[in-house]
C-alpha cells in the first residue's frame, strides 16, 4: 500500500509530463500502439528502472530466439495513465498493472484480452505461488499474469542479538505472543511499531489488520471482507482487531508506548533494533520494501545477511492455512497480435527475472525460480516466505473503495491507536463508511 500510495501521488505530478512525452513519441511515428502494425511489441511498466532494465535484457535474448522484437517503456503511475490512454486509443501491447483492481477496470473498459489460451495455465498453476492466477482472474477468465511481486507478511528482527538471546521464529500467532512476553520478561521491548506517514498515516495499521484477517478468517473470508460480502466488522475481523490491540496497546509491548505509534514516522521503525547497546525493540512487521537504504542504518544495509533477520508472519495454527499478503505487477494483454501473445508467453516463463533478480529488489512469483540468483540471503528468505505460503493475497485495502481503503480504514485505525476510540467503535465506523452504491 505504501508503494502504490506513493505512485498514486507521483502519478498526479508526472501524468501531464508523461502524457506529453508519450503523445510526442506516438506522433514521432514509432508505431508504439495498436499491435497489428508489425512493429516491435510494446510493454509499459512502472517498476524500478533497474528491474525494467533487467527484464528487458532477458527478454531481448528470449525474443530474438522467438523471432520477435520487444520494447519495454518505463512510464510513471501506469495505474492512472492506462485509463486515459485507453480513452485516447493509444495503448501498449502489454501493460504491467500494479493491482488486481486496475486489471479488473481495464477488462471492464474492454481493453484487455484473456490469456487462458496464450499461456500454459496448468503449468503456471504448478509453478507460481498459490493464488497468483486467482489474483489475475476476472469473471472466470485469466487476464493478469503476475510477473514480479513483493511481500508484506514479514517480521524483521536484529539477527545477531536475536540468536544470541536464543529466541526462535514463532510458528503460530500464540507463539508470537509468547515470544513477545519472553522478550518482555528478559527486560526488552518486543515491538517496533511506528506509523506516522503524513497524510497517509494509517496504512501500517491496515497492513497489520489485513494479515490478521487473512489468518483468523482464512482466504475466503479475506476476499469476502475486501469485496464487502461480509461486514467490515465481521467476527473474524474483530478477532484480528483484538490480537492487534493486544500487540499494540499492551503496556510495555511497543517502544515508546502507545502514543509513540501514531506520532513516530514509519521510516524510523527499524533503527532502534540496531542500537549500539543492544536492540531497543526486537520485532518489526513490514513489507519487503523496507529492506532499503532509506529505512535501515548504513552498517546494517551494508551487511544485510549478518545483521537483518526476516521471518514470515506466523500462521493462526501450526500446519493450518498460512497465507501471505503482498503486492505485485500483473501483465495484461492489450493487443491480439501473434507477436504480443508470444511476448506474453515469454513473460510467463520462470527465467524472465534471471537478469533482474541479482541487481534489484525483484522477487519472482515462480516457486521454481533459481533462488541463488537473489542478491542476498534476506531476499531469499523473503521469497521463500511467499513460496512456502498456502496462498498469495493482494493487499486488501488497495482493492477496497478509496473512501475506505485510503480513507476511513486508515483514519479510524489511527484514531483508535491514538486512544481516541476503542477498536469496536473503529470497526463500526469503518463499516458505516462503506459506500452503499
Amino acid at each position: 500500500m505504501r508503494i502504490t500510495r506513493r505512485t498514486r501521488r507521483t502519478a498526479v505530478a508526472t501524468l501531464a509530463a508523461s502524457t506529453l512525452a508519450l503523445t510526442a513519441a506516438a506522433c514521432g511515428g514509432d508505431g508504439g500502439s495498436g499491435g497489428d502494425d508489425g512493429g516491435p511489441v510494446t510493454i509499459w511498466m512502472s517498476l524500478d528502472q533497474t528491474v525494467v532494465d533487467g527484464i528487458q535484457k532477458q527478454l531481448d535474448v528470449k525474443a530474438e530466439e522467438a523471432g520477435i522484437e520487444v520494447e519495454i517503456e518505463r512510464v510513471d503511475g501506469i495505474d492512472k495513465l492506462i485509463k486515459t490512454k485507453i480513452q485516447a486509443g493509444d495503448t501498449p501491447d502489454i501493460a504491467l498493472l500494479p493491482q488486481p483492481g486496475v486489471v479488473a477496470s481495464v477488462v471492464e473498459l474492454g481493453a484487455a484480452f484473456p490469456i487462458d489460451d496464450v499461456v500454459d495455465t496448468a503449468a503456471l498453476e504448478e509453478s507460481m505461488v498459490p493464488g497468483a492466477l486467482e489474483a489475475g482472474t476476472v469473471d472466470d477468465e485469466l487476464y493478469g499474469l503476475l510477473v514480479s511481486m513483493n511481500v508484506k507478511s514479514l517480521i524483521f528482527y536484529p539477527k545477531k542479538a536475536f540468536e544470541k538471546a536464543g529466541y526462535e521464529a514463532p510458528e503460530t500467532l500464540d507463539d508470537l505472543t509468547a515470544l513477545a512476553d519472553q522478550i518482555k520478561s528478559d527486560g526488552g521491548t518486543p515491538w517496533c511499531l511506528t506509523m506516522e506517514s503524513g497524510d497517509a498515516t494509517g496504512w501500517v495499521a491496515t497492513d497489520w489488520m489485513e494479515d490478521l484477517v487473512a489468518r483468523y478468517g482464512g482466504v475466503d473470508a479475506y476476499n469476502d471482507w475486501v469485496t464487502h460480502d461480509i461486514p467490515f466488522d465481521d467476527p473474524a475481523v474483530q478477532e484480528a482487531g483484538a490480537y492487534f490491540e493486544d500487540v499494540a496497546l499492551t503496556e510495555g509491548n511497543v517502544l515508546g508506548g502507545a502514543k509513540a505509534i501514531t506520532a513516530t514516522p514509519f521510516t524510523e521503525a527499524a533503527k532502534p533494533m540496531f542500537d549500539a547497546e543492544g536492540p531497543s525493540c526486537w520485532m518489526l512487521k513490514q513489507g519487503s520494501f523496507f529492506v532499503g537504504p532509506d529505512f535501515l542504518p548504513e552498517e546494517v544495509y551494508a551487511n544485510l545477511d549478518e545483521e537483518l533477520g526476516v521471518m514470515g508472519f506466523p500462521a493462526a495454527e501450526s500446519g493450518g492455512e498460512n497465507p501471505v499478503v503482498g503486492g505485485g505487477d500483473l501483465a495484461v494483454l492489450m493487443s491480439e497480435s501473434e507477436d504480443a501473445k508470444k511476448a506474453m508467453e515469454l513473460l510467463s516463463e520462470t527465467d524472465i527475472g534471471n537478469e533482474a533478480a541479482p541487481v534489484s529488489s525483484f522477487i519472482s512469483p515462480h516457486t521454481d525460480f533459481d533462488t541463488s540468483l537473489y542478491p542476498n540471503e534476506t531476499t531469499r528468505d523473503i521469497a521463500s516466505v511467499a513460496y512456502e505460503s498456502t496462498a498469495f493475497l493482494f493487499d486488501g485495502s488497495d482493492s477496497m473503495p478509496a473512501e475506505v481503503g485510503a480513507g476511513s480504514f486508515w483514519k479510524e485505525m489511527t484514531a483508535w491507536l491514538n486512544g481516541d476510540q476503542d477498536i469496536d467503535e473503529a470497526l463500526t465506523n469503518i463499516e458505516s463508511s462503506w459506500p452503499s452504491s
Binding site: T201, G257, K259, T264, N418, D420
Partner: protein, 330 residues
C-alpha cells in the same frame, strides 16, 4: 525549443489580438447606434466581456456546485438526486460536527491573533531606528514568502516526535530533552484541541507579516499633529494609542481581519500536510478535499462548499459595505 517558443509567442499574439479585435468590434457596434445612445451604452459594451467572464467562471460553477450538492457521485453511473441527504449525513455525523467545531476555533482564534500580533509588531517596530525597523519587519515578513507546504516541512521539524530514549530530532522535543523532560507527541495531543492550536500557530507565523505591513503603513499614515495634540493635552502613551491611533486605523484593521478570516475559512494545506485531519484536527477545507478527491463523493463535497459559501457571503457583504463607506469618507 524554438518550436515551443514560437508556439508560445503566437499564442500570446493571438490572445491579445483576439481581445483587441473583440473590443474593436464592440466599439464599432456601439458606433452604429444613434449618437445619443452611443455615449450611454459604450461603457456597457466595454464591460461586457468582463461580466461574461465572471458569469462563466464564477457564477456558473457556483450554481453548478449548489446543484451537485443535491446529488451523489456526480459523473459516475450511480449519479442520482438525493435531496438534502448530503447535508443531513454531514451534519448528522459526529466527525463532521467535530470538523465544524475545529473550523470555528480557527475562525475565533486566528484572525484576532493575527491582528493583535501584527499591530504589536507594527507599533513596536515603528519605535525603532530605520535600520532596526527594516530588519525586524523583513524577518517577520519572511514566512509570507514560504508556501504553505514549505511551512509544513519547517514546522514538521519543530513538532517532530521520537519515542522516549531516542535522539529527538524535533526542535521542541529537543529543547524538552535538554531540560531532561520526556518528549511530547505534539500533533497527537488533542486534549482541549491543543494540537489544533499548534497548527493555528503555523498560520499565525505566515500571516502576521502580512498584517504587519498593512497595519504599519496605516500607523505611519496617522497624522503626527493629532498625536502631538493629544500629548500636549496630557494624554499618556496608552491613551494616545487607544484613543488616537486605533480609531484612525480602524478601517485597515477591519480589512486585515476580514482578509485573514476568509483565508482561515478556506484553510486546507496546513492541516492536510501535517495531520490530514487525524487526531481530531480536521477542518472543513480538508474534509472537502477528502470527500471530493479521496472518496469520489462529489455530492458531499459540493454540500460542504455550499455551506462554506453561505458562511462567507455575510462577511463579503460586510467587507464590501465597509470598503464603500471608506471610499465615501475619503
Amino acid at each position: 525549443m524554438l518550436e515551443k517558443t514560437l508556439t508560445a509567442f503566437v499564442t500570446v499574439l493571438a490572445g491579445v489580438g483576439a481581445a483587441l479585435a473583440l473590443f474593436w468590434i464592440l466599439n464599432k457596434v456601439s458606433e452604429l447606434l444613434p449618437a445619443k445612445y452611443e455615449e450611454r451604452l459604450k461603457p456597457w459594451f466595454y464591460i461586457l466581456p468582463a461580466y461574461a467572464a465572471i458569469a462563466i467562471f464564477v457564477l456558473y460553477p457556483a450554481v453548478q456546485t449548489v446543484i451537485y450538492s443535491f446529488k451523489t457521485k456526480v459523473g459516475f453511473p450511480a449519479e442520482d438526486w438525493v435531496g438534502l441527504k448530503n447535508y443531513q449525513d454531514l451534519l448528522g455525523s459526529d466527525a463532521f460536527r467535530g470538523t465544524l467545531l475545529n473550523t470555528l476555533l480557527w475562525i475565533a482564534f486566528v484572525p484576532a491573533a493575527v491582528v493583535v500580533l501584527g499591530l504589536l509588531v507594527a507599533v513596536l517596530a515603528d519605535r525603532l531606528a530605520t535600520r532596526g525597523e527594516n530588519a525586524v519587519k523583513t524577518l517577520i515578513f519572511m514566512p509570507m514568502a514560504i508556501s504553505m507546504v514549505g511551512a509544513a516541512v519547517v514546522w514538521g521539524l519543530v513538532y517532530d516526535y521520537r519515542p522516549p530514549g531516542r535522539p529527538q530530532v524535533g526542535l521542541l522535543n529537543g529543547i524538552l530533552d535538554g531540560f531532561g523532560a520526556g518528549p511530547v507527541a505534539w500533533l497527537q495531543e488533542n486534549t482541549l484541541h491543543f494540537n489544533s492550536f499548534l497548527l493555528m500557530v503555523m498560520l499565525l507565523w505566515m500571516n502576521v507579516g502580512f498584517a504587519m505591513v498593512l497595519l504599519s503603513a496605516a500607523v505611519k499614515g496617522v497624522p503626527t499633529e493629532t498625536l502631538e495634540a493629544a500629548r500636549i493635552d496630557g494624554a499618556n502613551e496608552r491613551s494616545v494609542y487607544f484613543s488616537v491611533v486605533l480609531p484612525q486605523i480602524k478601517g485597515t484593521i477591519v480589512t486585515v481581519f476580514i482578509t485573514v478570516l476568509i483565508g482561515v475559512m478556506k484553510v486546507f494545506d496546513i492541516v492536510f500536510v501535517m495531520t490530514n485531519g487525524n487526531f481530531d484536527t480536521n477542518i472543513i477545507g480538508n474534509e472537502f478535499y477528502l470527500q471530493f478527491f479521496n472518496n469520489n463523493n462529489q455530492g458531499a463535497a459540493a454540500a460542504i462548499a455550499v455551506m462554506l459559501m453561505l458562511a462567507v457571503i455575510p462577511i463579503m457583504i460586510y467587507q464590501v459595505r465597509n470598503f464603500r463607506a471608506e471610499e465615501a469618507a475619503r
